[in-house]
């Protein structure tokens, strides 16, 4: 397990005051909040900052963490010393229920065992309540949004065992992903949330759709974008070329005189729905390398025979 340097994650000195830590957190949280930032990796950065703040804002946890000493370096292999937390008392405040994986192993090894068991109060007999709704993310491929799919998801839910301790229970669900889903949309599974208490109904489970990162396509709503390499002669003379789409390859007409930056729209070839999205193809004009005698001669012939100055508009 890697040691985490919470002070460097927050960008503060080890002797920073609680006010400084709070300000640093607010600033980083705004910057990396996954609902605000479009930056890649924002979500993992946000979780890391949240974990660091959970420790440093809490004087008990911070004191215990500080006791580990300043000699640890981030990423160093770490095992908590035995009885490292002797003499400290934590007053709860762990990750929210249903979010057992929110914090790192490092955090869990230090603070994980000390909360949970205390919260397990017994409910009076005859108490009925509807179970809580749960939320989870389900990762699908873009192609699944075109055709629909079945996904098996594993959920880890904290539960009380017979002695009242919190344990994590795993369960696997097979879920149908309907055709035409968009990024961020939710699917409600009735009765698949937390079990009710007494005769209370079970809660619902909401699955948030997230697309796996795709090296070919970029998705916005139901519209899909593709960069398509074309040769200079296909762009200049026009051509019919094969283009991949999430629905399988299609023949695409590249108009004569296509320039870089222009996009071609294929209506209704985006994610299906009402209305369906469009597929936008951005031709990327790609030069063949001048790596053989014949290729060099062709470039030299163009140089001699085409009076072409791409910089004429720049006045040179």
């Amino acid at each position: 397990m890697d040691f985490k340097d919470y002070y460097s994650i927050m960008g503060v000195e080890r002797n920073a005051s609680q006010d400084v830590i709070k300000r640093a957190y607010r600033k980083l949280a705004r910057k990396y909040h996954p609902d605000v930032s479009k930056e890649a990796g924002a979500e993992s950065r946000f979780k890391e900052v949240g974990e660091a703040y959970a420790v440093l804002k809490d004087p008990e946890k911070r004191a215990a963490y500080d006791q580990l000493g300043a000699n640890w370096k981030a990423g160093q292999d770490f095992h908590p010393p035995p009885d490292w937390d002797a003499g400290f008392e934590f007053s709860g405040g762990g990750p929210a229920a249903g979010d057992a994986s929110a914090y790192s192993d490092f955090f869990e090894s230090l603070f994980g065992h000390s909360f949970g068991s205390a919260q397990a109060g017994r409910r009076p007999a005859g108490f009925h309540a509807r179970g809580e709704d749960h939320h989870a993310k389900v990762l699908i491929d873009l192609e699944d949004a075109y055709h629909g799919a079945s996904r098996s998801i594993t959920l880890r839910t904290p539960e009380l065992d017979s002695s009242g301790r919190v344990t994590t229970k795993q369960r696997t669900l097979n879920v149908k992903i309907p055709k035409g889903v968009k990024q961020g949309q939710r699917i409600r599974l009735s009765g698949q949330g937390a079990p009710g208490l007494g005769q209370g109904q079970a809660g619902d489970l909401y699955l948030e759709i997230q697309f796996n990162p795709n090296s070919l396509y970029r998705v916005e709503g139901r519209d899909v974008y593709l960069d398509l390499p074309v040769t200079p002669w296909e762009a200049a003379l026009g051509a019919t070329v094969k283009a991949p789409t999430p629905n399988g390859p299609v023949d695409l007409t590249i108009p004569e005189g296509t320039t870089s930056g222009r996009k071609l729209r294929l209506r209704k070839r985006g994610i299906p729905g009402n209305p369906p999205g469009d597929l936008y193809v951005a031709p990327q004009i790609t030069l063949p390398p001048a790596d053989s005698k014949a290729a060099k001669e062709l470039y030299q012939k163009m140089e001699r025979e085409l009076a072409f100055n791409p910089r004429s508009r720049l006045g040179v």
């Binding site: 909040h33 605000v36 939320h135 879920v175 149908k176 949309q185 809660g203 909401y206 930056g261």
Partner: protein
């Protein structure tokens, strides 16, 4: 293990949610959802509060509002402003894309 394939309901524009559905799905109070309506973040259909129906896409918005409020410590007016600006950024991005398609 449960090997049966479950079919859920896709919460799109065609699905209605009640005030109760939303408050439960956000583990928040009914009052919190009403505040979101008062700030104009959510727009229910129907005049009487008891009969309010929310389009299925409201849940996505309410959950973002909840996270912004909890994680960034902003009040609901601030959340409403942030959501409007995020929407505006999305619209501008789409328009920028449109210009790149038609203008060059």
């Amino acid at each position: 293990m449960n090997q049966k394939t479950l079919t859920g309901i896709l919460l799109d524009e065609g699905i209605d949610l009640s005030l109760n559905d939303l408050s439960r799905a956000c583990s928040s109070s009914i009052e919190w959802v009403i505040e979101l309506v008062e700030e104009g973040v959510l727009e229910p259909i129907g005049h009487e509060q008891a009969g309010w129906r929310f389009p299925g896409t409201s849940l996505q918005k309410a959950r973002v509002a909840l996270r912004l409020q909890q994680d960034l410590g902003i009040n609901l007016a601030g959340v409403a402003l942030a959501l409007d600006m995020l929407d505006e950024i999305d619209t501008l991005r789409a328009r920028l894309c449109w210009f790149e398609i038609n203008d060059i």
